[in-house]
Structures are given as C-alpha cells and as structure tokens.
C-alpha cells in the first residue's frame, strides 16, 4: 500500500501542495486529475523523489520512503514523451535497465513481456521508425522489466490518437491486473481518468478536491470545482455524442 500523509510543498510564498493525504491499495489504478497549475506534476515529482517535500511522509508497504533517492524508492515512471534512447534500437531500449539488474526478471519473463506488448516484430527498429503507440509500449516494457512496485504514468495517452488511445488503455488495465501493479496516472482529461481508474484523485489549487471511485465522483461530486469543471466537461462531450448519434446508439 502507498500512503501519503499530510504532504506540503511550497515554492517561496506559493503553496503548490497542501495537506495531501491518501492511501492507494496494491494493484489499484489511480488517476491524478486536475487542470494546469493544480499541483499534479509537483505531486508526481514528490512521489518520484525529484522534489523534496516540505512536510509529511510517503510510505510504501509500511516503509518510509520520503527521503530515499529516486532509484531506491521502488517506483518507476513512463514519461509523457517516453524518453527513449534515440541511439539504441527498440529491443536495446527494452532491456536497458534489465541489463543493470538481471536478477530482477528472468529472460523468459522479459520475452513474455515483449509478447504481451506485441513488440516482437519491432525489436530491431530504430526509435524514429516506431509509431506513437509502439513507442509507448517500448517505454512501458523498459520500465516493467524492472518490476517496480508502483508504476507512474505521466499523461500516457495525450500524445496518442483515437484507436491507439483505446488500445493503450486496455494494455494499461491488463498490465496492472496481470502484474498486480499499483499504477498512478497523471492526466488532465476527466474522461481518461474516470474510464481507466479504480480511483480518481482530483486536485484543485494544490488541495484535494475529491478522492474516490469514478462512480462516487459522478454521483456525489464533493465540491463545486468537481461539479463545474470536471463533470461539466463530460456532460458537454455526452451531449455532443447524443446530438451526433441519437439516444439509441449510446
């Protein structure tokens, strides 16, 4: 279980995170949702260990990881732009970290991962030869070979288009289930957050506006912000689809 206890972070007079407390059960998918400047990225950086928090603690399976260096926290991340090494092939990118820690996964597990993510035929390709979805899967595979306890995904769908987006959503769910992997997704898209996650954390001005299941958020929005900003976007989308297809297709 990942537990955040009363996290605070400020830059000068500007408080970016205020009293953030929550628990995430092992194997859960949690989305952090908010508009620009809501504190999503800062919270991600705090979890990863890139930014020192001013107060509070972060615990993973009962162990305090607040002040551990980023490589020792048991968390790993897939960045929004994947950060693949352009001078290495897709295959060499995938096994990059595994080569440093070969005891973490067996060769068979790495092979299974490559098959699971449907990357077998792309292993020899250069990074610039891959599509957006393939790059996303290579980055996922590279991270998963190290078997992190918590996987962080920074805007994982924002650079992808329609059909690929849906397929990556399925992949994320499948991986989370299969590896019992706690997955934290940072996103600004309410639809993405509510359809992909077990729970959603909505941030507003550095504070928690609501933390709950998608159902709870839709049925009982805790604040005006959740109602006016988050749900309103979904209502507009729903109305547009209704206009386009009519009731019978929805």
């Amino acid at each position: 279980m990942l537990t955040l206890n009363n996290l605070y972070k400020s830059y000068g007079d500007n408080t970016v995170l205020e009293d953030i407390s929550l628990s995430i059960n092992n194997g859960e998918i949690v989305s952090i949702l908010g508009s620009s400047g809501s504190g999503k990225t800062t919270l991600l950086n705090c979890l990863l260990g890139l930014v020192e928090i001013d107060a509070g603690t972060i615990e993973l399976d009962g162990k305090d990881i607040t002040h551990l260096p980023i490589e020792k926290r048991g968390l790993n991340i897939v960045f929004q732009d994947y950060a693949l090494f352009p001078h290495l092939s897709a295959g060499r990118n995938i096994v990059y970290g595994w080569r440093n820690n070969p005891s973490v996964s067996t060769q068979e597990e790495v092979d299974d991962l490559i098959d699971l993510l449907d990357l077998r035929e792309h292993l020899d390709k250069e990074i610039h030869e891959l599509s957006g979805g393939q790059k996303q899967r290579v980055a996922l595979a590279r991270t998963l070979t190290l078997k992190p306890k918590v996987l962080l995904l920074d805007e994982p769908l924002s650079a992808l288009d329609g059909v690929i987006k849906e397929s990556i959503k399925d992949t994320i769910k499948q991986i989370s289930e299969e590896f019992k992997l706690t997955t934290i997704i940072v996103t600004h898209d309410p639809e993405e957050a509510l359809t992909l996650s077990d729970k959603v954390l909505i941030l507003d001005g550095g504070k928690i506006a609501q933390y709950g299941t998608p159902q709870e958020i839709i049925e009982k929005p805790a604040t005006k912000f959740v109602e006016n900003f988050i749900l309103h976007q979904l209502h507009i989308k729903r109305d547009n689809i209704l206009k386009l297809f009519g009731d019978q297709h929805v």
Binding site: P69, A83, L88
Partner: protein, 547 residues
C-alpha cells in the same frame, strides 16, 4: 511564379558572380601558382617545398600543437558546458562561465600572444607577483595557451548549444534503470554529444592549424605552417610559388574535415522531444564542477587582465603608477587614429554588405524553390568558405587583384571579409528561414504584395533578430581578423590588427593593448546593442500578441 523566379534568378546571378570572381578565381590562381613553373604545369614547386626539412618540421609542429590544442580545448569546453547544464551551481555562476568562455572572441588573436608575454614573461604580471617565471613561454607553451584561449569560445558555444538539446529526462530514466555513474554519463551525456565533440575537435584543430596571429606574437623558434606561409609571402625574400604550395597544403585538413563531417553525420543523435526537467541535486558534483570551472575561468581572466591593466600603467614594470598617458598618446597620434577609423569603416561596411549577401543567398537556398543544383551550389560555397583558412583567401586575393583598381582600397578588404566570413551568418539565417512558415510568400502574393513587398513587410521583420546576430557576427569578426587582410592592406587602409603587427616590431606594447582594448570595447558595444535590439524586437512582438 514566373515573376518571383525572375527576381530570384537575378539575385542568384549576383551571388554567383560575386563568388566566382572573389572566391573561385583567386583559389584557381593559388592552385595555378602552385603547379606552374615558368608557365609550364609541373609538380616541381610542390616537390621542392615538401622536400625541405624546414617545411616538414613546421608542418609536423602544426599538426602536433593543433591536435593537442583541439583535444584540450574540446575537453575544457565540455567541462564548462557540463557545469552549466548538468549541475545546480548558482545561476550567476553559470552566466559568468558563459561570459568568460566567450570573451576571447571579442579580441584579435595576435593580442592574446602579447597578453601571454605580459602575463607569464620575464617582466610579466605573474612573474612579478610570484617571483618566478612559470615556464618558457616562447614556442610550444605560449602557442598552446594562446590557441586554447582562441579556440575555447568556439568549442564552448558548439557544445553548450548541443547540450541544450539533450533530453534531460533520459538522465532520470538512467537513474531509475539503475545505471552506474559511468554508464549513465556515456548514454545520457557523452553519446548524444559525440558528434558535436568530433565537430568541436575538428573546428578547434582547424582554427589552431591556420591561425596566424598567435604564432606571429609568440611562436619564437617553434615554426608552424602559418608563420612559414607568412615568411614566404611577406618575408625578406618573398617566394609566391612556395607560398601557393603551402596554401594548398593548408587546405588539406579543411578537405579532410569536410569529408569526415559528412561521414560521421550518422553519429548525430536527434531527439523527438526535448524536455528540461529537474535533475536530482548532487552536492559533491556541484562543488567539484564549480571549483574546476572557477579555476579555468581564473586562467582565462588572468591572461586577459594585462590588457586592461597595462594601458593604464605609466611604464610597466618600472613605474606601475596609474596613468592615462598611453591612452592620450594613442588618441593624439594621427596615424593610430587613422587605423581606428579604417577599422570601423571596414567593419561597418562588411557587416552591412555581408548581412545583405548572406541574407539573399539564404533566401534562394531556403525559400526560393529553385532547382536543387542552384541551392546546392550556395550550400557548397558556404561549406567551402567555412573550411578555407583566412591566409589562403588573403593570398588568393593578392594574386587576383594585384594591379587592379581595387588594390589597396577599402573595397578589397570589405569583399574579402564578406567572402571569408560568409558561412556562419548564411547558416544562421538559412535555419531561421527553414523554421518560418512556408506559405508567407504565397500569402503575400495573394494579398497583392510584390516579391520585394513581402520581403520587406514579412520576411525581414520575422527574421530581424537573426539579422541583428548576423550583423554583429560580421562586425566583430572584421574587427578582430588579421589572417586574410594582412596581405591586402595598403599604406592608407591599414586596420587596427595589422597596425598591432607593425607595432610589435617597435615593441610598443602599451599602444598595442590600448588598440586591443578599443576593439574589445567596440565589440562589446556592438554585441550589447544588438542584444538590446533583439530584446526590444521580441518585446514588441509580445506586446502585439498581448494586444
């Protein structure tokens, strides 16, 4: 479309004629002189020159010192750029590194030589303060220090710029993947920079190999190819045939460099996304890089300090009281004031003409939709001028225009500078044009603009900050250059750098430093002015956007 092509064709004819007359014709003459004996084509001159022991020695000296300089300069520049991009030393310190590392660009290389003499020589500041001379500075040691200071800014700017485009997120990925520090350094810093490091090595090698100013001041008995060439052309017994052969030999590294650069282009790593992320702070690394960078900066500044001290000292080293006597003398000497005036005329005219020439040349190659051959020919001229040593250009001009109306005039100096420094401003503006919306010209035409109308109202305003940079580049280089124009100045058209060379024979070092200081101040003013104009322009644009 026809009309537009018509205008571009006229511009191309102008550019073609300019470089045919002022680049290819002089180069052909150099080649002919090298391979002609009494009107007959033969390899006699070449054989005669390359079989001389003195020539072989100076050539191998040049190779040796240029290689060592290139290695050290690239290494030092890499270290300074790394401190800026990969450590959390204070921002003011990073700005200081930037300032000190690029400062030598603003002075003529011949001045560095004299500055080194007055820092580390028997009467030098260092020797006076510490009571001993650290090393014998004439020859290898002095040349090495001079070349290092000369080439550091170029290597630094190249490496620092490429480091800006390294995806820093990969550094984090490498940490998360459990890399050892060495493997992390290799994959996230060294490998992405490898191409630029090779380019920096080649550039610095080439600059040291062909520079004339530093060996002229401090070479001593350690003869290098540039000083051999100067002695053959302007020595007591000039031999133009031998000079032409040496010029050809000087071209060999340039040709090899161009071929190597083409060959290794594949090494270049291109990122699809560049993101600047927060890197974890490592205090030990910050301290180490900070202290070493500070020592390097101290080294550079200590050599330059004398240039700022000596002009204001009564009589170094005997009477070190503060005095304006040298400055006043300089401004009262009609002869010295004339060279200052000449320098400004040449630099400003070069900046105006050079900016126009490279601007229109880039329009043809980047915006004109002209045939590939035409675009390629301009790129070829750019590559060639980038690779040509200034001395070879100067000698070519000397052969080509001796006895013509332009000999000993400002015009020959201005054209020589325009051709010699063409490459960098051309590449600057071409890159800017490539990034500009490709539909500007079509939109302009659809809205009733003439081609020149679109150029004036759209293209120039959109690229004005690059134009300022080009202007500044031409001006500064014209102020500090000596290698080409040393062969071309007349009695009435001498400029500051050639005057410095002349003053060396009379040991008037205080005057030399006053003149160098003048160049430095002029260049600083030009740089500040252009930066200010660029900033004002971008503010204006923001204001328009905000409105």
């Amino acid at each position: 479309m026809f009309k537009r092509n018509h205008e571009l064709k006229l511009i191309y004819i102008f550019i073609f004629a300019l470089f045919a007359i002022f680049l290819f014709y002089p180069l052909v003459l150099v080649l002919m002189r090298a391979i002609q004996t009494n009107g007959v084509i033969s390899l006699d001159n070449i054989v005669k020159v390359i079989s001389k022991e003195r020539f072989v020695t100076s050539l191998s000296n040049s190779f040796l010192i240029a290689s060592i300089t290139a290695l050290l300069s690239t290494g030092i520049a890499f270290f300074l750029a790394y401190t800026i991009h990969f450590t959390s030393v204070p921002k003011w310190f990073k700005k200081l590194i930037n300032l000190v590392a690029t400062m030598p660009m603003l002075m003529p290389t011949i001045t560095y030589g004299f500055a080194i003499i007055y820092t580390f020589g028997k009467q030098g500041v260092f020797t006076k303060i510490f009571g001993f001379q650290p090393f014998n500075l004439y020859g290898f040691n002095g040349l090495l220090i001079g070349y290092l200071i000369y080439t550091l800014p170029i290597a630094f700017v190249l490496i620092k710029n490429t480091m800006t485009y390294i995806d820093k997120k990969q550094f984090l990925v490498s940490i998360l993947m459990g890399d050892s520090p060495l493997r992390r350094f290799f994959h996230t810093v060294f490998r992405p920079l490898a191409y630029t490091l090779v380019i920096a090595f080649i550039q610095t090698f080439f600059l040291s190999f062909t520079d004339f100013g530093i060996p002229a001041a401090i070479g001593g008995q350690f003869e290098v190819i540039a000083s051999t060439l100067y002695n053959q052309m302007l020595g007591s017994i000039p031999n133009f045939h031998n000079g032409a052969v040496i010029s050809l030999v000087m071209l060999i590294p340039s040709i090899v460099a161009v071929l190597v650069v083409r060959k290794i282009e594949k090494m270049n790593v291109r990122y699809e996304n560049i993101s600047d992320v927060m890197l974890p702070e490592v205090k030990k690394k910050n301290w180490f890089c900070g202290i070493v960078s500070a020592c390097i900066m101290l080294g550079v500044v200590s050599v330059f300090a004398v240039i700022f001290i000596l002009p204001f000292v009564k009589e170094w080293p005997y009477d070190i009281s503060f005095s304006f006597v040298h400055v006043i003398e300089t401004f009262q000497s009609a002869n010295l004031l004339d060279v200052v005036k000449n320098s400004f005329i040449v630099a400003i005219a070069t900046a105006v003409c050079g900016t126009i020439v490279s601007y229109v040349a880039a329009i043809i190659s980047a915006r004109g939709k002209m045939p590939k051959l035409i675009r390629g020919s301009i790129d070829f001229v750019s590559t060639l001028t980038n690779a040509l040593p200034g001395m070879v250009v100067g000698i070519g001009f000397m052969f080509a225009f001796k006895g013509t109306n332009i000999q000993n005039t400002y015009i020959i100096l201005i054209i020589c500078n325009v051709v010699h420094f063409f490459s960098t401003p051309y590449v600057m503006i071409k890159n800017a044009f490539m990034k500009m919306n490709l539909s500007f010209e079509t939109t302009g035409r659809l809205l009733g603009d003439s081609w020149f109308g679109t150029l004036r109202k759209v293209m120039i305003p959109c690229s004005i900050s690059t134009v300022f940079e080009m202007f500044s580049y031409y001006f500064i280089n014209s102020m500090v250059t000596i290698s080409a124009i040393i062969f071309l100045v007349g009695a009435e058209t001498g400029v500051i750098t050639t005057k410095i060379k002349e003053l060396q024979h009379f040991a008037k070092f205080a005057d030399i430093f006053v003149l160098s200081l003048l160049i430095f101040i002029a260049n600083i003013i030009m740089k500040t002015l252009m930066n200010h104009l660029t900033k004002k322009e971008s503010e204006k644009r923001y204001y328009v956007e905000a409105k």
